[in-house]
Symmetry: C2
């Protein structure tokens, strides 16, 4: 029926062209994400899939985003834009051995790995599993080491092929167009294309059964059936390009034929396409002569396997060795910065801090009142913890004396009178990490004792409204200003909105870092987060200790402290080490609070029992001193007559709003009357008079 147009030559040892492996960048991105977030230290072999097509311009086995058939969508981007052209591609099972260290990668026992793969292959052939699912004949594996810090990936493909001993011979392979006449060629092409478009297209080995002038494409499991009449050509998707040699997949197919089909020769079509069409000039036809393999009778004798990819990167005559790709150079630097910034945090979760809630932190909105020595340092600490939403409030401009102590500014920020501090700080954060959402707002916090004149009223009212909204729109509020009285309104607003308030204040060689207790209107947040309000009366919850605020230890209302101060009292005259320490502790404390579902209502815990959980220590107050390098923890309960967080004050604010605030700004002692402090002091004085008698 068919005429061979090629001269028949004496059989020679058959050579095969080795696969090429290729990795799309999105594969590495997904591996990085999965490694950091899911696998972590787990270095079990991973089942992956490779993709190939018998096409002129896709002559490789490719790894890409979808190679990980993880259900989770972890990783960069989604799979939707990664599948272009894949409908004509065939997927192949593989294994990824990703080492945790470069040394482990270098120490992989490649012989053992290859033998393991040979065993899988041989078992699949012997058990006929490979006849059912012929993609198993194309099984591959990859060893790799991903340097997640530098975005450098070391990898080495292996395409295991069982070894014939003695070798298979052939009288040669030639372009199919020389082998088939025109009619046959057209029929072969039609049969192949129909296979490629059928549901069986992902079976990369098939039979061309020629009978009664018809050519049908059939699964390799039909071999015996096809022997009943007509002629059979074994075809396979050939990813290789050489017009002299068949591609690598043929090797394992021959091994399967030798084991199962009881034949001495095979006629083979190396099926190749160009631009999505069968191409008989590229495709090869040849015969394979299978020698006797007595060993194959026993499934327990596993043939050797070969197939480590050669690489132009590799040294030496064998061209064998791992490839390296450095993605950092080609990646968008901003994206790289983003992922690098998260790297340390994700690494913490691998081993030392598995409960770290990175998503929680990246969604937490932090309001920093004050962008000075403390504010700058707190913002840096928050960034390092993965907080990505930071708002600064400050009334000043960057002064020449700032940069040496305030770590977000430099000399250029001071020129021409200085940039507004809050905006300069936000800009600086964006220079550190382009993706951060940082905002700066220039605003002077209204303060008790800082009188509001009639023509300032509307401005101050607007400022109060703005601050009220800012507090409500953020999750954690840091009080980092440089006077006592500027902390009063924020303390009240935090108590009113039941926000987490973290306070840091500096002395010359001392500091105080504390968290305020929960708002007085909230008795207790249960673990499900349902709040149980005490109703109208803002009664103290006697079931639970409420922690104090910054003003709870005071028996006088805050007042203007800035009048008549000499220069050394006006400036932040502190030992330079105090601010970074206090700021760092404020951030560490805030992170721990955020990891407690009770938030501000969480009881004080000095971490004595913190062996179990590193984020559990929740002291109320940390006081430190550089005079003797000491650091001590304190706890204080809320004071029922507190001028900032007591039920009366919060209720008064809720009922009278700005009118109440205006009274306080102009007459701070009003707070003492309101809370009953005046009476308390009077009675205390009377007692002391008695004593003198």
């Amino acid at each position: 029926m068919m005429s061979s147009s090629s001269p028949s030559l004496s059989p020679e040892m058959l050579k095969f062209e080795l696969w090429k492996g290729s990795v799309k960048e999105d594969f590495w991105h997904r591996l990085v994400a999965l490694k950091l977030d899911v696998y972590r230290l787990d270095d079990k072999p991973l089942e992956i899939r490779g993709y190939f097509a018998p096409s002129l311009h896709q002559n490789y086995l490719q790894l890409r985003y979808e190679s990980f058939h993880s259900e989770s969508n972890i990783g960069s981007g989604s799979a939707t834009d990664h599948g272009i052209g894949s409908s004509m591609q065939c997927s192949v099972p593989g294994t990824l051995y990703n080492a945790n260290t470069k040394e482990e990668f270098a120490a992989f026992d490649k012989r053992t790995l290859m033998n393991k793969e040979a065993e899988k292959l041989w078992n699949d052939i012997c058990s006929s599993k490979a006849i059912e699912d012929c993609t198993l004949l194309n099984r591959f594996f990859v060893i790799s080491y991903a340097d997640l810090k530098k975005w450098r990936f070391h990898y080495w493909f292996a395409f295991p092929a069982l070894v014939f001993q003695p070798p298979v011979t052939s009288s040669g392979f030639h372009p199919a167009v020389e082998y088939f006449n025109e009619k046959e060629g057209a029929d072969v092409m039609a049969a192949c294309m129909s296979w490629r478009r059928s549901l069986s297209r992902d079976k990369p080995f098939f039979l061309l059964h020629m009978n009664d002038n018809r050519i049908d494409a059939r699964p390799i499991g039909d071999w015996v059936d096809c022997q009943q009449g007509g002629k059979v050509i074994v075809a396979f998707y050939d990813p290789c390009q050489d017009i002299r040699y068949p591609g690598w997949p043929l090797r394992n197919l021959i091994m399967l034929a030798a084991r199962h089909w009881n034949t001495k020769t095979l006629q083979v079509l190396c099926y190749r396409e160009n631009k999505g069409q069968a191409d008989l000039e590229l495709s090869l036809v040849g015969d394979v002569i299978i020698p006797e393999y007595p060993d194959l009778e026993s499934s327990s004798h596993i043939p050797n396997a070969v197939g480590w990819e050669r690489s132009i990167q590799a040294k030496g005559p064998s061209k064998q060795g791992p490839k390296v790709i450095d993605l950092a150079a080609s990646m968008d630097p901003k994206r790289l910065a983003q992922s690098a910034a998260d790297l340390n945090l994700k690494l913490m979760r691998w081993r030392i801090l598995p409960t770290l809630n990175i998503d929680l932190l990246s969604n937490t909105r932090c309001l920093l009142l004050g962008a000075g020595t403390l504010g700058c340092q707190v913002a840096r600490g928050l960034m390092a913890w993965g907080i990505r939403h930071i708002t600064f409030v400050d009334s000043g401009n960057v002064a020449m004396s700032n940069p040496v102590r305030q770590s977000l500014y430099d000399f250029n920020d001071c020129l021409n009178g200085g940039k507004p501090k809050a905006e300069a700080a936000a800009e600086s954060l964006r220079r550190i990490l382009p993706g951060v959402r940082a905002v700066g707002i220039k605003l002077t916090i209204p303060m008790p004792g800082h009188t509001v004149s009639e023509n300032e009223v509307s401005d101050v009212m607007e400022t109060c409204r703005q601050l009220h909204n800012l507090v409500n729109e953020h999750d954690v509020i840091f009080l980092l200003t440089d006077t006592r009285e500027s902390r009063w309104l924020p303390t009240l607003l935090c108590a009113n909105a039941d926000k987490v308030a973290i306070n840091a204040a500096l002395g010359f060689d001392t500091f105080l870092v504390m968290r305020h207790g929960h708002g007085p209107s909230v008795c207790q947040l249960d673990l499900e987060g349902n709040s149980q309000h005490a109703g109208q009366g803002y009664l103290e919850d006697d079931r639970k200790i409420r922690l104090g605020c910054y003003f709870c230890n005071d028996v006088v209302a805050p007042e203007d402290s800035t009048i008549n101060r000499t220069l050394d009292q006006q400036c932040t005259v502190t030992r330079p080490g105090m601010a970074p320490i206090a700021a760092a502790l404020a951030v560490e404390l805030a992170i721990n609070v955020l990891h407690n579902s009770l938030r501000a209502a969480a009881p004080a815990d000095n971490g004595s029992s913190s062996d179990v959980e590193p984020l559990s220590a929740l002291p109320h107050q940390i006081r430190g001193s550089a005079a003797n390098f000491s650091q001590l923890l304190f706890m204080g309960t809320a004071f029922s007559k507190c001028t900032a967080c007591s039920p009366q004050v919060v209720a008064e604010y809720q009922q009278n709003g700005f009118e109440f605030l205006k009274l306080v700004f102009n007459h701070p002692t009003y707070l003492e009357d309101l809370t009953g402090l005046t009476d308390l002091i009077k009675s205390t004085n009377e007692i002391s008079i008695d004593w003198e008698d």
Copy 2:
């Protein structure tokens, strides 16, 4: 003898043109320097000098650098370039009332101050002291407030003039050229110029004695003599420009005349110059008619005084009020930054930390080994303390993950593979404070266990030499690298050179900050700084406890710890707060050590007795933990078999240099043999075997 060429008018009340005050910028710079470094909170009135000349283009009393006749050279610049033209200027005594606060400035009791000056003037006139030193008649004073932070100066000149009641009258003043004939004019000019060029030139009042066709300039003390024959014109250096009225200095001269000279009229020459020459067109001549002042007979009745300067800045019809100058805008920003950076430190010395040795710190050279999370933060702390000489050593480039934790880098430093870290850190310091002397050196510290191959030997030897020199050229060495073994060579070099070594190391939520003890070759530095070497044998000094180094607690030599580390072990996986805290404490500790004359040899002092002196606390080790927010102090003595600082190791280094180091790099256990640790461990093991029996 003389003919009046001017028409004689009926006498009218005489008006005087008020002085103008002027301040050269260098006066403010010197005031800032003196205030910060010398006067501090002391607000006593200051004796100063003003300068003026009777010149067309210098019609004011000027304050400048030399106005402070302090012996100290404190202040910006030297006096040499400030005295140009001053040889023809006359100096005048004055008083500066410089307030400590803006509120005090506003509250100055101007009437009282003026009365006080009137009293001084009147006393000087009555006592004839003002005849001896007639500059006293030009006495002035200034009230001021210097905002040293913003370089804004509020000031107000007063030129006290005693008030005549009833007023002095005159028939008018006219240009001298109209009064004298040509010959007289030439003679007057010659007499005046000779006075101006004589040793008496700084006497701004003098007499022109006309007798026998001669005109002589004579001191005002010669009045009575001159009355013996001829005619006398009273002359004064007139700083004013008005061609109708005499200048302000004449007022107090008339008062002196009224008190002492028993005359009803005075003929007056308002002497004025142009381009350094007497100018009779500018100069005025007129007569003054002195009414009867019976009050002047009594020296106890002090006349009133007037003379607050008018200012175009002042509001209201009287144009009286303080002037304000804002130097920040006109100053060289770099110089401004320099002074601003020192401001907080100088303010510390005012009250809270008088022993702070700013000069010592600004001359201290600090070597930072490692420019990572710790190095960046240590450098910032040192800058804030006024350290101005910082050298970074680091082997790396800025990576994308660095900026969020390493506070001297931003996103741009990471692009294109990243800048070399040490140089980027130095650049960043210069951006913060342009005047700082920051240097970055890219260098890999050779380490025990990091084998040196034969072709690396010369490079590593050069690196060791470089490190040796760097340690010797600096005063304080900070060990801030991220492995144990990289601290070994620096520890040895510090012990060898007896340098202050400050060590900071991080765990996940812990840190250690310590200072190393002094070198083993130094027994004791006495208070005069004379070292008492123990001679050849490097014997331990048994009179004094030597503090331990980082390796003194170990019984094994350091070795390569970087092999086979997973990613989370390679990266600095620490709670972000640890580095800023440890860095800040390392700096505070270093500052305290620098303030102790024993430096590294200072005994451990945990600051329990530090009420006296805030810089005296000198703990040996500070260990902190964020697990329970604790911080504890420890003390450990030097270990005689220490692999880094023991006498044997230092002696071996001194004797065999690089050959010894090479042995250690390639065979770290050599250290254990050398120090006797090997034997120690062996004997310990033998003991434990005995125990098992």
